[in-house]
């Protein structure tokens, strides 16, 4: 029981810290929204080794953190992107796809969710012109994240991170 609480707390703090870390990286000129996607790692980990509700609550925590630090619109974007991402990843998990595919889907759907939120918030469908850049970066960083996850899961399982 204590192990579960500790693990949940660790995952929550990891998620938030990673989202801070990835915001600290330079925003590329002319490419808004391209991010490393590191904050998806704890979410994916909890999808694989724990359960879906924990992954969803990680997304909610991340959005709450965005609300506290960056404001209302950032929170909405994070919610939209995160929830869509987690839902699609969970669906893909059921079909036993490769971890790379799950990660890429998570990244792309996160970006698509954010774009959809922006277009609804300000009634401007033209934001989707950014989608090619985001699809490519989502794919690249999705694969990177999958590799990272593959590398770290064995070590985390050894420390007793599983069920």
């Amino acid at each position: 029981m204590t192990r579960r609480i500790t693990r949940t707390a660790l995952l929550f703090s990891l998620c938030i810290i990673l989202s801070v870390v990835e915001s600290a990286f330079l925003t590329l000129p002319t490419l808004p929204g391209v991010k490393l996607g590191l904050s998806n790692l704890p979410v994916m980990y909890s999808l694989y080794t724990v359960n879906f509700p924990l992954a969803l609550s990680l997304c909610l925590a991340r959005s709450l953190f965005a609300f506290i630090t960056r404001g209302f619109s950032a929170c909405l974007l994070s919610l939209a992107g995160g929830c869509l991402s987690v839902l699609l990843m969970q669906l893909l998990l059921k079909t036993r796809s490769s971890i790379a595919l799950v990660s890429v889907t998570g990244g792309i759907s996160h970006n698509v969710g954010q774009l959809a939120a922006v277009s609804l918030l300000w009634s401007t469908p033209s934001v989707f012109s950014l989608s090619p850049v985001l699809i490519i970066s989502g794919t690249v960083f999705g694969i990177l994240n999958a590799v990272l996850l593959r590398v770290t899961i064995p070590y985390l399982k050894k420390i007793g991170g599983g069920k």
């Binding site: 002319t30 595919l101 033209s126 934001v127």
Partner: protein
């Protein structure tokens, strides 16, 4: 593997479609979802907004010159010239878009 190639192909096609827009002639500035001004891109103009962002038009393109927001994504987006290009300052809720009529 096939799926990944498909995804990248779609991205490439979309990229080509969007990047070949015509040169814009007007730009729109919206704050909080409401249109604040609509000017010609050929006229040099400097628009300081109440929220803290400054939009500058230099006769050929329009861009966020400076902003008081913490992430500066708007300023980093750079210069917009083609129709359909946009930049946004999320914390200040400013949206800048290049249109043509």
């Amino acid at each position: 593997m096939i799926i990944l190639t498909l995804i990248l192909a779609i991205a490439g096609i979309l990229f080509v479609i969007f990047k070949n827009g015509s040169h814009g002639t007007l730009y729109e500035v919206s704050v909080n979802g409401k249109e604040v001004c609509r000017e010609s891109i050929y006229k040099k103009h400097r628009i300081p907004l109440e929220c803290g962002a400054v939009i500058v038009c230099d006769g050929e393109g329009v861009y966020f010159d400076s902003s008081d927001c913490p992430d500066l994504v708007c300023v980093n987006t750079g210069r917009l010239t083609r129709e359909g290009e946009w930049a946004a300052c999320l914390p200040n809720e400013v949206f800048l878009k290049v249109v043509s009529k």
